[in-house]
């Protein structure tokens, strides 16, 4: 379609009178008795005809024959099936059928499952939730892709690392505390002697360190060596 050259809407024109429809031909002069607006309308109508006449007929494609054959055969098969069904002899229902159906209906009515009351109550009481549950229950279950398992395993592994990291941080804090105590002790020893030199030697320094709630299993080999050096007991 040539949308790039969409024409301006034509102004309202006077309609072509019905009695001049026969004058809508491709060629030939406008009759003298057709004047004014009618003449213009006839001229435009002839233009329409000239344009429409330039459209040529469409040849039916070859595939149409095959489609018609398929349509005819399908219709013929349906007609034959219908005719055959109509020709089948009518079989009378046995007299006991009514009784059997009636008794079956009674039995069904008596054996309505108890759960029906609850289901109806739920449906009436909370229709949206019940409907949502019912509909989601019907959703097709999809098997988890193998990629999910890989991702979960990767996530679990990363989480374990995070926990171990926490423990390491705790052990590092304990180690840092012990190092600080050692530095303090060393500093005290390196201080000049006190003015009362006559006094006896400084008493033995006793470092008492109590670490609470440390999981031994979390201590590194350096933590253990340090504690051993300090005379600590594990």
């Amino acid at each position: 379609m040539s949308s790039s050259s969409s024409p301006e809407p034509a102004p309202e024109q006077s309609p072509l009178p019905v009695e001049w429809l026969d004058l809508v031909v491709v060629d030939g002069p406008i009759p003298a008795n057709v004047e004014g607006d009618a003449s213009e309308a006839l001229t435009r109508a002839r233009g329409h005809l000239r344009a429409l006449s330039s459209l040529m007929g469409r040849r039916a494609p070859d595939e149409l024959a095959g489609l018609v054959v398929a349509s005819i055969n399908a219709g013929a098969r349906q007609d034959r099936a219908l005719e055959f069904a109509r020709s089948l002899p009518r079989i009378e229902a046995p007299a006991t059928l009514d009784e059997a159906v009636a008794s079956g209906i009674d039995a069904d009515a008596a054996s309505a499952p108890a759960v029906l009351d609850r289901l109806v109550e739920e449906r009436v009481g909370a229709p949206e939730q019940t409907m949502a549950r019912s509909m989601t229950g019907r959703l097709e279950r999809h098997k988890a892709p193998s990629e999910l398992e890989r991702r979960v395993q990767r996530e679990l592994f990363t989480g374990r690392d995070a926990t171990s990291g926490g423990r390491r941080r705790l052990a590092s804090a304990v180690g840092a505390s012990l190092l600080a105590v050692v530095l303090v002790v060393a500093a005290q020893r390196m201080l000049p002697a006190s003015p009362s030199a006559s006094e006896p030697a400084a008493p033995e320094l006793v470092v008492s360190l109590t670490v609470e709630r440390v999981d031994v299993g979390d201590l590194t080999s350096s933590d253990r060596a340090f504690l051993g050096m300090m005379g600590g007991q594990l």
């Binding site: 019905v18 429809l21 469409r58 040849r59 149409l64 024959a65 005819i72």
Partner: protein, 212 residues
């Protein structure tokens, strides 16, 4: 419409079809098909505006014609009945299709060139110069667009009158409306064509051929 007053030109063929109801597509119905296939397809194409829907409508038309042919009693002209079935099928398929498809320029191109059948004239594109063919395709596309914008009633009467060359009486019989309604509807169709087609005419016929 009025009763059986004239001899239908297709009467012998129709009677032959009715005499062999089980013959399927191989019997006289094949001749009937060959006689009408281009007219039916062409009318369906102009009403639906695209080849795919035209094919569907044509298939449906011939399927209906085949199934109902046994009960055809010449109460109307056979060709009018076929056109009525085709027009209804095309309008129905066009309505169902809605705007889901866009007509391509390729689909708007003419078909193969064999011997024309019926009143249709089919252009021989093989001998047409490329520039002339391109110009004609553009014109055809614009005209078809204008037809597509008409209402189904207007479109139908324009196609039957000016593209299928049916007489007022044949149109009246085809559409099962009175002769007066045919003419008044045709007059209104020209008013609609004034809006849709006159700009196309001005552009293609007058601007390019100022002498007209």
């Amino acid at each position: 419409m009025s009763g059986p007053v004239r001899i239908d030109p297709d009467r012998d063929l129709i009677l032959a079809c009715q005499a062999e109801p089980e013959a399927g597509f191989n019997g006289a119905f094949r001749q009937l098909y060959e006689l009408y296939k281009d007219r039916v397809y062409s009318a369906c194409f102009r009403i639906t505006g695209n080849a795919t829907d035209a094919l569907d409508a044509s298939q449906e038309t011939f399927g209906i014609v085949y199934r109902k042919l046994q009960s055809f009693r010449f109460e109307s002209k056979f060709s009018s009945w076929v056109y009525r079935v085709a027009v209804n099928a095309a309008i129905d398929i066009k309505r169902r299709a809605g705007s889901r498809r866009v007509t391509s320029l390729d689909a708007l191109r003419g078909g193969d060139t064999d011997t024309p059948s019926g009143p249709l004239q089919i252009r021989d594109e093989v001998t047409e110069a490329p520039t002339a063919a391109a110009s004609r395709h553009e014109l055809e596309s614009d005209i078809q667009s204008a037809i597509d914008r008409l209402s189904p009633k207007m479109k139908t009467i324009v196609v039957l009158r000016y593209l299928q060359s049916l007489s007022y009486e044949e149109i009246a019989e085809t559409l099962e409306i009175s002769l007066g309604t045919v003419k008044s509807r045709l007059s209104r169709a020209h008013a609609a064509l004034d809006r849709e087609l006159t700009p196309v005419v001005d552009r293609h016929f007058i601007e390019r051929n100022p002498a007209l």
